[in-house]
């Protein structure tokens, strides 16, 4: 079974530029998560999708971050405009069927963003 795919793996941009990250979850996984992992910290949930609907986006900085999962499969996370403090690894994860709270999540390799 193929794992969670993410691209690009690395991205360097100037502050105030925009950037987009792509994630393709494990086939058949209904629930998709985007996390932000700042150096020295654990992952922090940004947004959770159930199929193509948003379940939780309470931690998403909506003035600059947006995410979509139009067909309930792959997803895109965008930052516009980027700030220095957005430098982090952005992780995508998925889990099977409906989120039952105790399912383990399967993580992609992440996208390392550096904002200069």
């Amino acid at each position: 079974e193929a794992g969670v795919a993410q691209s690009p793996r690395y991205k360097i941009i100037e502050k105030r530029q925009s950037v987009a990250f792509w994630c393709n979850p494990i086939s058949g996984h209904a629930t998709l998560y985007w996390y932000q992992q700042i150096l020295g910290q654990g992952p922090k949930l940004l947004i959770q999708f159930q199929n193509n609907g948003v379940v939780d986006d309470s931690q998403l900085p909506k003035d600059r971050f947006s995410a979509e999962r139009l067909k309930g499969v792959d997803s895109t996370l965008k930052i516009q405009p980027a700030k220095l403090e957005d430098s982090a690894v952005y992780l995508c994860a998925s889990t099977s069927e409906w989120d039952t709270s105790y399912n383990e999540q399967f993580f992609g390799p992440g996208t390392r963003l550096t904002v200069l």
Binding site: V4, G40, Q41, G42, P43, K44, L45, Q48, V55, D56, Q59, L91, A93, S101, Y102, E104, Q105, F106, F107, G108, P109, G110
Partner: protein, 115 residues
Amino acid sequence: AQSVAQPEDQVNVAEGNPLTVKCTYSVSGNPYLFWYVQYPNRGLQFLLKYITGDNLVKGSYGFEAEFNKSQTSFHLKKPSALVSDSALYFCAVRDQDQAGTALIFGKGTTLSVSS
């Protein structure tokens, strides 16, 4: 509010010795508890979880963890460490009694196993 504490930034152990990586948690209800491991330039991998039942949970690669409700702890253990166990370990918690809450991760503990 949910929270997880991993009090040690780094744990050093010699190969063949037992290892313990500590985790304490805080939730208002009953917890679901998880351990994940992260190798360099890779995403997190699931190791084990506690849902209910036996307090001693066995997981991948010979790891186990003991749930202690009175001490609100979920320490990760392995009887004999391998050099290949060197990685970053994350403890995570979710409140069973609050549907839809996010998984909360600790800040991580770097395990270094020397040969």
